[in-house]
């Protein structure tokens, strides 16, 4: 598996990897039976801006790196902006992923969306 240096960096030194006790949006995607499970936590402030974001991931190197990367991309964005982060954005920011690992970046984007949906449900 040829991971880029950036993937390896985010894997070895994951950013924002922790459980967030005071999150107001939590999304979990994946299936541990398939070897991946990802939880994204967000704290959205009154201006609809993602003020804090973190993750917990059970999965391969790419799954951990994409989780880490998406927290960096999303922090400071409004919820609207964050929803536009695509699978490709994550992979591109990591200088690419091996073809068989592209679905791991789906996981990260899906996880963030799930967290945002959960936040919106909580705040209706």
């Amino acid at each position: 598996m040829d991971y880029s240096e950036k993937v390896m960096d985010h894997f070895a030194n994951p950013r924002n990897c922790r459980k967030m006790e005071d999150a107001n949006g939590v999304g979990t995607v994946g299936n541990p039976t398939c070897g991946d499970l990802m939880t994204i936590y967000i704290k959205v402030n009154d201006d609809d801006v993602i003020e804090d974001i973190s993750f917990q991931t059970f999965g391969c190197g790419a799954a951990i790196a994409t989780s880490s990367m998406i927290t960096e991309i999303a922090v400071g964005k409004t919820v609207e902006e964050a929803l536009k982060i695509s699978r490709n954005d994550v992979a591109e920011e990591l200088d690419g992923l091996p073809p068989v690992k592209m679905h791991c970046s789906n996981l990260a984007a899906d996880g963030l969306q799930a967290a945002i949906e959960n936040y919106r449900e909580n705040n209706q």
């Binding site: 598996m1 991971y3 390896m8 894997f11 070895a12 994951p14 990897c17 979990t28 541990p32 039976t33 398939c34 070897g35 991946d36 499970l37 990802m38 939880t39 917990q56 991931t57 059970f58 999965g59 391969c60 190197g61 790419a62 799954a63 951990i64 068989v100 679905h103």
Partner: protein, 383 residues
């Protein structure tokens, strides 16, 4: 520190020295008449004798191939196509190597019927199951000697006796056991037995199939009369010479290596289970290879573990889906009936005779660190 010797091994210096002349100097085609050709022929003969000696066979029972996978294909298709009109039932286990498994899947597409014996939690078949599976239509039993992922060893002698009584041809894949434990074709009661060179410090791309005198197969590679007409193609002389030497060395050192490796393995198991919570060993604790152990750690995924270990200088492997190009969890571990999630947390450590310098304490410390780091990240770990 390379800890993935079940995947492949380093060619030893002694083996390479023996191969060297057969590239640029003794390059003759063994089928030719003149001196340089006859020298190649002699080298082939010597290698064949060495392989035969290592498994208690006769040299004319050894057919050189391009590797373990080819040997498995030659054995299984060779018998299936030979008996095409006499029977279509084959018996195997649930957790064979892909070279056997995929070959059987192909035969199923040609209307062969295959029975897959369960291997239970300990990774060993029950002889009773085998007896029950045999029908009048059964032409072949193919059951691996040692499993490549968890190292459990099947009761080949007993299976061989049953096969012989019933007059059914019996093949075993001994790629992982050869050079690690005794492999004696007479004791094992087999008709066919597959070997591969690169698992015993020989070169890649060479293997052999033992074919008991009297057992006939349809060739996989038709053509010139090489290898008694059973495997055509100009012989890979250098590779075969290397394989022969590797066999000789492996046999000579079998007991010594067995003792050394199983001691390291036992120490490793004891320390890992003692240090890392929720860690387990996959497969039977008695009937197992001396050089291989497969661990299971709750709540973590194998590929990430392997990457962390690699970053610390340890190369090992996993049966986790996410490490292969197939993204499908290890069928071997799945066959043990493990919870699918647990299948992903596996780690295979396989040692080589040259693993003397392996410091078990240092490794276990690194491993424990990596496991707890991944558990901290894991949403499945709540302890």
């Amino acid at each position: 520190m390379y800890l993935d010797n079940s995947a492949t091994t380093q060619v030893s210096e002694e083996v390479f020295e023996e191969m060297k002349p057969y590239f640029t100097e003794e390059f003759g085609n063994p089928s030719t008449l003149y001196k340089i050709g006859r020298e190649s022929k002699k080298a082939l003969d010597q290698a064949r004798q060495r392989v035969a000696d290592a498994i208690n066979a006769k040299p004319e029972e050894i057919i050189f191939t391009g590797g373990g996978s080819e040997s498995d294909n030659l054995a299984i298709k060779g018998i299936a196509f030979k008996f095409l009109n006499q029977g279509k039932h084959i018996i195997t286990t649930e957790f064979e190597h892909p070279a056997v498994k995929e070959t059987l899947a192909y035969l199923e597409s040609l209307d062969f019927k295959v029975t897959y014996l369960p291997v239970y939690e300990n990774g060993i078949i029950k002889v009773e199951d085998l007896k029950e599976a045999i029908t009048d239509d059964t032409i072949l039993i193919t059951i691996m000697h040692g499993n490549n992922e968890i190292g459990t060893i099947q009761p080949i002698e007993e299976i061989g006796e049953i096969a012989r009584e019933k007059g059914i041809i019996f093949h075993t894949d001994a790629v992982q056991t050869f050079g690690k434990i005794e492999v004696d074709v007479e004791k094992l009661n087999v008709n066919l037995l597959s070997l591969s060179s690169h698992k015993i410090n020989g070169p890649k791309g060479v293997g052999a199939l033992y074919i008991k005198k009297g057992t006939r197969v349809i060739p996989l590679i038709h053509g010139g009369g090489q290898e008694r007409g059973i495997r055509a193609g100009t012989e890979n002389v250098a590779g075969i010479v290397g394989f022969g030497k590797a066999c000789e060395l492996a046999s000579e050192q079998l007991e010594e290596h067995h003792e050394k490796l199983s001691a390291i393995r036992d120490e490793l198991i004891e320390k890992v289970l003692g240090t890392i919570p929720e860690s387990y060993v996959n497969g039977d604790m008695e009937q197992r290879l001396p050089n291989l152990v497969n661990f299971r750690f709750k709540a973590i995924e194998g590929e990430s573990l392997i990457l962390l270990l690699d970053a610390q200088g340890y190369q090992a492997s996993t049966g986790s889906a996410c490490s292969s190009n197939k993204l499908e969890a290890s069928p071997v571990l799945t066959a043990l009936g493990l919870d699918p999630v647990d299948v992903h947390g596996s780690l295979r450590i396989s040692l080589a005779p040259e693993s003397d310098a392996f410091d078990v304490d240092e490794f276990v410390e690194t491993l424990a660190g990596a496991v707890s780091r991944l558990r901290e990240m894991s949403p499945l770990w709540n302890q």
